[in-house]
């Protein structure tokens, strides 16, 4: 039986629609046009600042004495240390890095709730490097119209030179980008000369190559497709936005009916939009902001600059395309007088509170951080030893972490077991008996075997809590650690 869910007309229309909807969208190449204006200036400033930080920070020097690297910020994966000026992060303190990432995430949520996709438009590396690549492209191939024309013309000597120069410049920037990345993980000055002498390690060349390739491909070729298809952030940033977030908007109620306008024509009965298409021409993702909110919009504000320029030219008030809240626009569209921006609202308060809590937790953790740490691990095989005179002894492995750049001489004491005698095994010992001092080298972990011996009548039955503590040369208690002493159960 021939079952049909639709009649023939529907089938035809579905078929037509199918034919119009391929599985993969073909990319329409975007030729963004240069524009001048407030937001363009902000973007240049952000670009200079961010790239300056990225390229120059590895070259900052910081004197830490002869035994430590003198790079201000260095993540030494081989040596398992993170050097941040005077702060040295050991692998077990990686939660500080986690904390920074959490701070960054809440900061991003907060900024998004307030100003929409301000991260995407101004600070994201994809945006910054794409901007840089576009500037280079514009210098070599010219602006939008010239680039479009160049792409349409058949290959010529001039085209080959221009295209070749552009790609060479792009690759040079990409190599510098990959190179700068490496310098955060190795000593910058010595590695730079090694790279040119061919003496750097394979990992260095591999990561320079990798970062060069990603920079060249993502900023040179993929561009807005990264934001539209690859990046997860645009997909869920909508959850942070609401009608009170400041975003790039088109004042539809004022702009429509749009149409061409000749000087001297009346503005009566029509909108302010003169349909000059400049906002589309300058858009780095090639969209029309007048269509409303779109996932492709990265909120860079270049169309605001474009529209301001046009409005000034035709002598109409600025701000047809402007930073505004959706609430304000919807109110004005209804003919009301608009809604004032409310930066303080439950959403922003929540993000600010989360940001504050995370920052406070980080500060507390950082303030409580010590440069000397003690860990004690008790031998459990055997649990305790009965000596020939009946004394009971427990053995412990004591590790002292010295995060200072100088050696330390420390004295170990035990609390909670008054009759205990201390004994030590280790090569870095000074003195003897209870006055034994443990020597720990700079930026190192000292390991010692410690024996606690008590007379049989003083031994606790079963397990009893004790505490190990270390004192520095001046008698200040620098760290402690809980432990137990185990005696025979009677």
């Amino acid at each position: 039986m021939d079952v049909r869910l639709h009649d023939d007309d529907d089938a035809v229309s579905l078929r037509t629609r199918k034919a119009e909807l391929p599985l993969y969208a073909t990319r329409i190449k975007v030729y963004p046009r240069a524009i001048k204006g407030t937001w363009r200036r902000v973007k240049w400033l952000a670009l200079i600042l961010l790239l300056g930080v990225y390229y120059l920070v590895p070259w900052l020097r910081w004197d830490r004495g002869p035994s430590a690297p003198d790079q201000a910020i260095l993540i030494d994966l081989d040596g398992r240390r993170g050097w941040f000026f005077d702060v040295v992060i050991w692998p077990q303190e990686v939660y500080f890095v986690t904390g920074l990432l959490i701070l960054a995430a809440f900061g991003l949520f907060f900024a998004t709730a307030l100003f929409g996709r301000v991260w995407c438009g101004f600070a994201c590396p994809q945006t910054v490097w794409t901007d840089l690549f576009m500037m280079v492209e514009r210098l070599i191939e010219g602006d939008r119209n010239q680039r479009q024309r160049l792409d349409r013309t058949p290959m010529s000597a001039d085209k080959a030179v221009r295209k070749g120069t552009k790609h060479a410049a792009w690759i040079a920037i990409a190599v510098a980008t990959g190179g700068a990345w490496i310098f955060y993980f190795v000593d910058a000055p010595s590695t730079l000369s090694k790279i040119f002498c061919g003496e750097a390690s394979l990992e260095v060349y591999f990561f320079i190559g990798l970062l060069t390739a990603t920079t060249y491909i993502l900023a040179g070729w993929a561009r807005e497709q990264v934001c539209t298809y690859m990046c997860p952030w645009p997909r869920f940033q909508a959850a942070m936005l609401d009608e009170q977030s400041v975003i790039v908007t088109y004042q539809k109620w004022r702009g429509e009916r749009r149409g061409k306008h000749k000087a001297g024509d009346s503005w009566e009965g029509r909108g302010d939009c003169v349909d000059c298409s400049l906002c589309i021409a300058v858009c780095p993702t090639g969209i029309d902001i007048r269509d409303g909110q779109q996932i492709e919009c990265i909120g860079c504000g270049l169309c605001v600059d474009a529209c301001t320029q046009t409005m000034d030219k035709v002598g109409r008030p600025r701000g047809l395309i402007r930073w505004d809240t959706l609430a304000d626009q919807q109110s004005k569209e209804r003919g009301e007088k608009g809604v004032a921006w409310r930066p303080v609202r439950p959403r922003t308060l929540l993000y600010a509170a989360l940001l504050g809590v995370a920052a406070a937790a980080m500060l507390v953790a950082f303030a409580l951080r010590t440069d000397t740490e003690l860990t004690v691990q008790r031998d459990r095989s055997p649990n305790f030893v009965r000596l020939s005179n009946g004394d009971i002894r427990n053995s412990y492995t004591v590790k002292i972490l010295n995060k200072r750049q100088t050696g330390q001489s420390l004295q170990l004491a035990v609390e909670g077991l008054p009759s205990a005698r201390l004994g030590f095994v280790g090569a870095d010992l000074e003195g003897s008996g209870a006055a034994t001092r443990l020597l720990v080298h700079p930026d190192a972990v000292g390991t010692f075997r410690v024996f606690l011996t008590v007379p049989p009548n003083a031994a606790p039955s079963g397990s009893s809590a004790i505490e190990f503590a270390i004192q520095d040369a001046s008698g200040r208690r620098s760290a402690s650690h809980d432990a137990v002493f185990v005696g025979p159960t009677h």
């Binding site: 199918k18 030893v385 053995s395 095994v425 090569a427 390991t447 075997r449």
Partner: protein, 286 residues
Amino acid sequence: MPTKIEKDALSGTETTGHEWDGVKELNTPLPTWWVYTFYATIVFAIVYCVLYPSWPWLNDHTQGVLGYSSRVELAQALDAQVKTRAVFVDRIRTASLADIRKDPELFNFALAGGRSAFQTNCMQCHGAGGAGSHGFPNLVDDDWMWGGGIDQIHATIEHGIRNADDKSRQTMMPRYGADGILTSPQVAAVTDYVLSLSGRGTATPEGAKVWQEQCVACHQADGKGNQELGAPNLTDGIWLYGGDRDSIYRSIFYARNGSMPAWSGRLDEATIKMLAIYVHALGGGR
């Protein structure tokens, strides 16, 4: 193959021409990039088969033109390990035990190396932490049958106890009861005497007489033993074969002559040194 490509009316997609009870299969080809990725994996597999060992024969396999072998790779990795350790191992071989213990770097290396050798060779009898068990001495306490100095421990590990090694420690306690040297009442009497040495009960004159005649040569008049002869201290609370009356009686009646292998032929010089340092540092070392 269908002679004519047919289009499905409903979806507008071509069909493959396959039909089952009126249901036709639509021809929805894979994305091009997917197909090329698939071809690339085939090319990769062929290249791999040429370069690396891959196809099994009946008793062998193809070797691959690169001559790669995971066994060779493992051997190289192990060699590289030995080479990195060689710096320290050579120094340990040439340095004296006392010097090793004074050098923090060598000492820590020896402790780590000794621990690993102990876990492989010694823990079967002496326990993972060196606590021993019935008949296998505790190496953590301060009671030693053959001496707890670093050199004595080293000698014990090197040559062992009561084995075929020429230099192994050789002493023998007589089987007093089993070989008829003492009668059962005499063994019982001397057992009481031994118990009295650690403050348990009182000895009979007969027990004291047997002790004087048979035991003092090795265990000394005060019962504190003699480490030169491997005669244990009988006055303390540590008993290798049990300290209760019955166990002591059996030890005297049948004698206990525990044995330990010599490790000089099985382990290299440096490993034995590291073991001695590790055992000495367990807590009982003198």
